[in-house]
Symmetry: C2
Subunit: 147 residues, 2 copies
DNA sequence: CTGATTTAGATGCGCTCGCATTGATATAGA
DNA sequence: TCTATATCAATGCGAGCGCATCTAAATCAG
């Protein structure tokens, strides 16, 4: 692609903004209506659940979920306060820590999933064929590079 | 498509979140580095510029750009303070108002565009072929419906 | 016409965000 | 080894967000 900005690129960008906002709003609303915490909590719990017993370092979480460092720090604060995750000093790095999910945290994530899945189905799954979803995922992956 | 949530849909959703976040961050950064206001200002100015001499009612802006009512109201506040737009009581509706872009506002939008275009080219245009961009725009449009 | 409902827009509130900075430790280079 | 630089995480700050609520005007129903 050359130096000019194609109209198609602008259209794709606008569609991207609208689609994300609209879908995100629906999903957050679903969580709220079910009296569950916001999506960011799910993301973090999910990564920690996957990470298993060793947990993750905050900077590893930062790489996996798309939240800035300072917000990761405070998100961990909030989850720690409620006992969904636990902090622990890192053995191998004196500056660092390890974050692990607790049993309660795992349970919360499990409760959140059906709500998430349902909302996702309505906002995304039901609107694209499997094939379309695959294409979209592939194309959009090209935009996710931070460079 | 049915009642189940396909893996492809989840992948598309995650890609959507990441792509939007990443691209948006780049664009906002570009504006900041050029010492220009954020994207939302551009969007609002652009709609008002297009609307011409009659301007728009705030609720019309709300339909066009993806910002909640209360935030539209405050965004107009900020732009009014700096003289980029002007409020005026609506003739036809005593509850309402008309918002119009000023000459300074038009000028600001004009200055913002090259920065925006450049960032958009880097974040989106250069990463998709024209054809891909079209496909993405078409598919994503299906997710933008608020219902 | 009157009262009830709806709609337009503003505002208070609490929360989260991004940025910049700080403090502490780790790593690299002379 | 000693110093400079880089990295990890926390925090102060100001700004913007979404929600709920409020006021005023418009619309609807009887």
């Amino acid at each position: 692609m050359g130096k000019e900005l194609s109209e198609a690129a602008v259209d794709a960008w606008i569609a991207l903004m609208r689609a994300q906002q609209t879908a995100l709003l629906k999903i957050e609303r679903a969580f709220r209506e079910a009296e569950l915490p916001p999506l960011a909590w799910y993301d973090l719990l999910w990564e920690l659940d996957r990470a298993g017993a060793e947990g993750l370092r905050p900077f590893e979480l930062e790489e996996r979920i798309l939240i800035a460092q300072s917000n990761i720090s405070r998100l961990i604060d909030r989850l720690t306060e409620r006992g969904y995750v636990a902090r622990e000093r890192s053995e191998e790095d004196g500056r660092g820590q390890r974050v692990r999910i607790t049993a309660t945290g795992r349970e919360l994530r499990r409760r959140m999933w059906p709500i998430y899945a349902q909302a996702l189905r309505e906002a995304v799954g039901s609107r694209l064929t499997e094939r379309e979803a695959q294409t979209v995922a592939t194309q959009l992956a090209k935009l996710a590079d931070k460079r």
